[in-house]
């Protein structure tokens, strides 16, 4: 892209490069050229007119996680309309979601139990914006639910439904609302939401 006449290879051209002094540019954008972007603040009109270095690269990263033993059992349980936990022989806690190891005493866990689909709200939040930060008219209520039959503090995170935001409170009793057997496919969304009991 060498446009200068009479410049030899190896000759110092740093001074020439400086004719696009970024400091100067902040005050006189008319001198901007379209082929030098060094140190220039990109402004709104630059974005509009495409005066910026652009690399379009779209990558699609796909994963296919092995569920292993514990996640597999949990998802299989959901398909059957049941919530599966596992019981640690050492600390006796019922862990939900289940795992084959207890994170507190590093013991192998291989006893499987069903826990209830009812429980109490441990904490909740009401989300008024979507992932693009737009206001949503029907706020989404997210809650941590301590399930009956699981050890204290154990449970799952899910949505609350059939309840007005102003009526939700910590300690509120709730019950899972399941999709129909035909619709369930072994996913956390097999439970649609929890509603007040």
């Amino acid at each position: 892209m060498r446009e200068e006449e009479g410049v030899k290879d190896g000759q110092d051209i740093s001074a020439k490069g400086m004719e696009h002094d970024p400091v100067e540019h902040n005050n006189s954008k008319s001198k901007r050229s379209s082929n030098n972007y060094a140190g220039i603040e990109v402004r709104e009109d630059d974005l509009r007119d495409g005066r910026y270095m652009s690399i379009r690269y779209s990558a699609r990263f796909r994963y296919r996680w092995d569920t292993g033993i514990a996640v597999g059992r949990f998802l299989e349980g959901l398909r059957n309309g049941k919530i599966v936990g596992s019981r640690c022989k050492v600390c006796k806690r019922v862990l939900v979601p289940p795992r084959i190891f207890c994170e507190l005493d590093f013991a192998q866990v291989d006893e499987w139990v069903y826990v209830g689909d009812t429980g109490s709200v441990n904490t909740y939040s009401i989300s008024y914006i979507d992932k693009q930060a737009r206001r949503i008219s029907n706020p989404v209520i997210v809650a941590v639910i301590e399930l009956d039959g699981a050890s204290q503090g154990m449970g799952i995170m899910h949505l609350l439904g059939e309840v007005r935001p102003e009526d939700v409170h910590i300690g509120m009793r709730v019950k899972a609302v399941w999709k129909s057997r035909e619709e369930r496919r072994g996913a956390i969304t097999d439970i649609m939401y929890f509603k007040p009991l």
């Binding site: 033993i69 590093f106 192998q108």
Partner: protein, 436 residues
């Protein structure tokens, strides 16, 4: 050299994944066999016992990555003599993971539970597991902790878009856009071509490396890609990126590897004696420039300098380190990499690697066995876990517990890892047995 009394030792190693667990329990010394039996009992679908280590699928569909980590960690703690990893000992945990392989941002957040590391010091080193080992080494040397648990894993069977992710590592301005349609293996082709041109090493000896490593792997119960192949088959396999053929590229496998380090004092307490402790005599690591077009493609300078650092720490004289070393577990992600790394680690002079391989000097019964485990070509490529797998193999050798792969009288080993395409980064560790 680390003064006596301040040494840091490897006290435990464990793994899960790789070739079938039942196969290895039949092959290994009794102290590890008991934990592999437990490993199998954790599964809902155990396979029948066989004494023939046939190459098996390199996947681990029965377990999630967390479950693999748990099984590997339990085996390592048992090996290390750690009765309760949850006790309030001065212990820290280090994982080597890369978010894109995990498929999760901040993947370190998902590591504590299955290692017994909840509410304990844990950090992630986004590099090969050998960097994790070096980090643990430094934490112990600094006096902060007595024990460091290092974990790395590969669950590549979960990753559908391996090639997309590999391509994502390329420079976005200069490289990625120009070659959008071809596999990043072309970088290995460029490097191999220049390496062979400058050093005079031959394509035949590269093929011999494949034949040797896959052959060595026949004796390794962990190996997923063991086979008996001659060099004509390697050379006639389809060219992927000239001069690199498809059989000269290591294939993916799943595994979790856990290595437990301890200060000398703590190591003696855990093991009851110095038996079974493998000492870390030296470590080093180094990175070259990312400019593929501007860096030295023939010499693997990153490996030379990392090795220099490690040799110096270990008190090994630089002119002929092979005099001090009984075996090498070094990077063989691609066939030529083993030759290139042999020269970089000064196990031979520049241009001599071919001759050593041709003469059988690096074979299992040679004077300097290189990758007696079968390396990545024979065992499988484990991304971040590759370096720790090499440590595990070297530890078994130095303990004299490598079974039918045992290198007779192995007392000192050099372990080296490379960060993979498109990098020029890597680490080295010098390990020695207790009676060296």
């Amino acid at each position: 050299m680390i003064p006596k009394g301040e040494r840091i030792g490897i006290v435990g190693v464990g793994y899960a994944g790789l070739a079938d667990t039942k196969v290895r329990s039949a092959q290994e010394p009794s102290h590890t066999a008991s934990s592999t039996t437990n490993t199998a009992s954790a599964s809902t679908n155990t396979t029948t016992t066989t004494t023939t280590p046939t190459p098996t699928a390199a996947t681990s569909i029965r377990y999630s990555y967390k479950e693999l980590m748990f099984l590997a960690a339990r085996m390592a703690y048992e090996d290390a003599g750690i009765v309760d990893v949850r006790s309030k000992d001065r212990i820290s945990f280090i994982c080597s993971t890369e978010d894109f392989w995990e498929g999760n941002m901040i993947s370190d957040e998902y590591m504590p539970d299955q290692l017994g590391a909840v509410l304990r010091p844990l950090c992630t080193v986004a590099a090969d597991g050998l960097y994790g080992l070096i980090t643990g080494f430094m934490q112990i040397r600094s006096g902060l902790v007595d024990v460091a648990v290092v974990e790395a894993h590969s669950k590549l069977s979960d990753v559908v878009s391996k090639k997309e992710i590999a391509r994502f590592a390329l420079d976005p301005v200069y490289v990625r856009g120009i070659y959008p349609e071809i596999d990043p293996y072309f970088i290995a082709g460029l490097e191999m071509n220049r390496f062979l041109y400058e050093t005079g090493n031959s394509r035949e000896s590269c093929a011999k490396v494949v034949s040797k490593n896959k052959g060595n792997a026949l004796a390794n119960p962990r190996a997923c890609y063991a086979s008996s192949v001659d060099i004509s088959l390697v050379l006639s396999s389809p060219i992927v990126a000239y001069p690199l053929t498809s059989m000269e590229i290591s294939s993916y496998a799943d595994a979790s590897i856990v290595v437990v380090l301890a200060s000398e004092h703590k190591a003696r307490m855990l093991k009851g004696s110095t038996d079974g402790i493998v000492w870390i005599d030296g470590v080093g690591w180094c990175s070259d420039t990312p400019w593929i077009n501007d860096r030295n493609l023939a010499d693997a300078l990153y490996a030379s300098l990392a090795a220099e650092m490690a040799y110096k720490m270990a008190g090994i004289e630089m002119d002929e380190p092979s005099k001090y070393i009984d075996l090498a577990e070094i990077d063989d992600t691609f066939s030529y990499k083993e030759l290139q790394h042999m020269e970089a680690l000064r196990l031979c002079r520049k241009g001599e690697a071919s001759r050593l391989v041709e003469d059988g000097c690096t074979a299992m019964d040679g004077y300097m066995p290189v990758n007696p485990s079968g390396g990545s070509l024979g065992v499988g490529y484990l991304v971040e876990a590759t370096g720790l797998h090499r440590v595990l193999e070297a530890v078994l050798q130095l303990r004299g517990m490598a079974g039918s792969m045992q290198v007779h009288g192995a007392r000192r080993a050099v372990v080296q890892s490379w960060r993979g395409l498109p990098t020029a980064s890597g680490a080295v560790a010098i390990l020695s047995s207790n009676d060296s």
